[in-house]
């Protein structure tokens, strides 16, 4: 990813900052200038709570340049609790444990490096929600 682009999108990628539309109250991620639901100017920032559900998923065996060393890895369409869907890697889970409908939560993780001397990019990934519960010693 280009450095200025990485800088511009840091709040979205580190903290899931999106928007709530002032006109139709729908949640929007990533932030846009125009609400995709009602076409009015999109609204104030909103920090998503980071939990959601796997809408679909895939395990990649032929990664694009920059991701070669990570393959195979799992990518999912995650529907956030507030409504919007996004594309993200899953982490802390085996590929064969993933299923549609699985509850997940956002964790910031290292995504890739632009070569040995390049920038290290961090981004949201998602892990199974039970991991949080397990860490806290709570059964779910």
């Amino acid at each position: 990813m280009f450095v200025p682009s990485s800088w511009r999108t840091r709040h979205q990628r580190y903290s899931l900052i999106g928007e709530v539309c002032p006109a139709c109250d729908k949640h929007i991620f990533p932030p846009r200038d125009v609400c995709p639901h009602c076409d009015q100017p999109a609204g104030p920032a909103h920090k998503f709570n980071g939990t959601g559900m796997v809408f679909s998923y895939t395990t990649l065996f032929q990664p694009p340049a920059g991701f070669e060393s990570q393959a195979p890895y799992v990518v999912a369409l995650v529907q956030l609790d507030e409504g919007p869907m996004l594309t993200a890697q899953l982490t802390d889970v085996e590929a064969d444990e993933v299923e549609i409908g699985m509850k997940v939560e956002m964790v910031p993780r290292k995504l890739m490096e632009d070569g040995p001397q390049g920038q290290v990019h961090y981004c949201y990934k998602f892990r199974p929600l039970w991991a949080k519960a397990a860490q806290a010693g709570v059964s779910v």
Binding site: T58, L60, T87
Partner: protein
């Protein structure tokens, strides 16, 4: 608006042309099309291409092609709409002639993909998707289709090899297309054994990385170009031309399994042609992946949501079926040289309508629909051709 005819076609074999640059490929298709049209010159050149910058280091591509092919000084423009760049060029050419601005234009689709290593090509293709919120996450273009396929299979309870029918049909038809990249048949067993690229999507769900160029010559009906006595086949008319878009990212669609732009552009093209789905004798759809075949059949309107895959399994899309699909092998078997594909579809449809499709001839084909999809459904162009 003037009526627009296709009076000549040209195409290179689709494959790995290590010995040809993008300009050589372009030139081969341009020359065949001019020869076939019995014309030496055109007023303008529209070039559909997605990746000449990334994979050949060459932009200003249309001027480069015009120069290299000896079409000196004419208007030349490149159009880009990802994998639908070819159909975008066809539509620009159509508009230029329909408007009366030009009497005769050449539309070229060309892509040179074998200049780079696999993962670089994979990354370049990813530029068809959202750069920040899809590609940057490590998602390949194939993976985006795999995400749609996984959900489709789950939601509609499709059996393991349920989507095999599209590839089997494509390969069966490709066997008889001398310009196709793959000319061998495959079975459901082959499909079942095929290596997984991005689960559940396997090699035999996917169109290949390849090179190719295709061209058509357009002219206005009634033009002097049409009255050339040496022509021995009837020109084909573009009866409908339409374009529509959808969200760039799959995750931004209210229903990621619905190709809204396919639906919309189909309806517009049919309306312009004054035709209905029943009038369509064959369909060249954008089967870059099996899942796109199924979802397209549904969005075009032939199948209810979740049932598209069944149509490929029961003979419906065969050459002899109710709706022949991908009659020269489609993207899966003829090959999918990205920005060239939309023009290959036009070339193949013209041959069907002229009765020159050889062993893959659809009997009494009088009306064909061709559809080219850019990205995971974001840019869609539908054309209806008739004779």
């Amino acid at each position: 608006m003037k009526k627009v005819c296709i009076i000549g076609t040209g195409q290179t074999e689709v494959g790995e042309h290590w010995d040809k640059s993008i300009l050589h490929l372009a030139h081969d298709a341009v020359m065949s099309a001019l020869l076939d049209a019995h014309v030496e010159a055109v007023d303008a050149l529209f070039v559909g291409n997605m990746l000449s910058g990334a994979l050949s280091g060459q932009e200003n591509l249309a001027a480069a092609v015009a120069d290299f092919s000896g079409l000196r000084n004419i208007e030349a423009v490149k159009t880009e709409a990802a994998c639908a760049s070819g159909a975008a060029a066809l539509r620009m050419g159509y508009t230029a002639v329909a408007s009366g601005l030009h009497d005769r234009v050449l539309v070229l689709g060309v892509e040179k993909m074998t200049n780079t290593l696999g993962h670089d090509t994979t990354a370049a293709l990813g530029m068809a998707a959202d750069a920040v919120y899809e590609t940057f996450q490590g998602v390949s273009f194939t993976a985006l289709n795999a995400l749609m396929m996984q959900r489709y299979v789950w939601q509609y309870d499709v059996p393991d090899t349920g989507l095999a029918g599209f590839s089997i049909n494509a390969h069966r038809n490709g066997c008889h297309n001398p310009h196709a990249m793959f000319r061998h048949a495959i079975t459901e067993e082959d499909y079942g054994r095929s290596r997984v690229i991005s689960s559940p999507l396997c090699v035999l769900d996917s169109s290949p990385i390849c090179d190719g160029a295709a061209a058509v010559v357009l002219c206005a009906a009634g033009s002097s170009s049409l009255s050339d006595g040496s022509r021995h086949v009837a020109p084909v008319t573009i009866l409908g031309s339409a374009a529509a878009t959808d969200t760039l990212a799959v995750h931004d669609r209210s229903d990621p399994l619905r190709l809204a732009a396919v639906e919309l552009s189909t309806q517009q093209a049919l309306a312009q042609a004054g035709a209905s789905l029943d009038d369509v004798d064959f369909l060249e759809l954008h089967d870059a992946f099996s899942i796109l075949g199924a979802m397209s059949l549904e969005a075009v309107g032939y199948a209810e949501p979740g049932t598209g895959w069944r149509y490929a399994m029961d003979g419906y899309i065969d050459i002899e079926g109710d709706l022949p699909v991908s009659t020269q092998g489609g993207l899966k078997s003829r090959g999918h040289p990205v920005g060239a594909t939309g023009v290959y579809q036009a070339v193949e449809a013209v041959k069907q309508l002229q009765g020159l499709a050889g062993p893959n001839q659809v009997p009494n084909a009088a009306l064909g629909m061709i559809q080219n999809v850019g990205g995971s459904g974001a840019s869609v162009f539908t054309h209806i051709l008739g004779i």
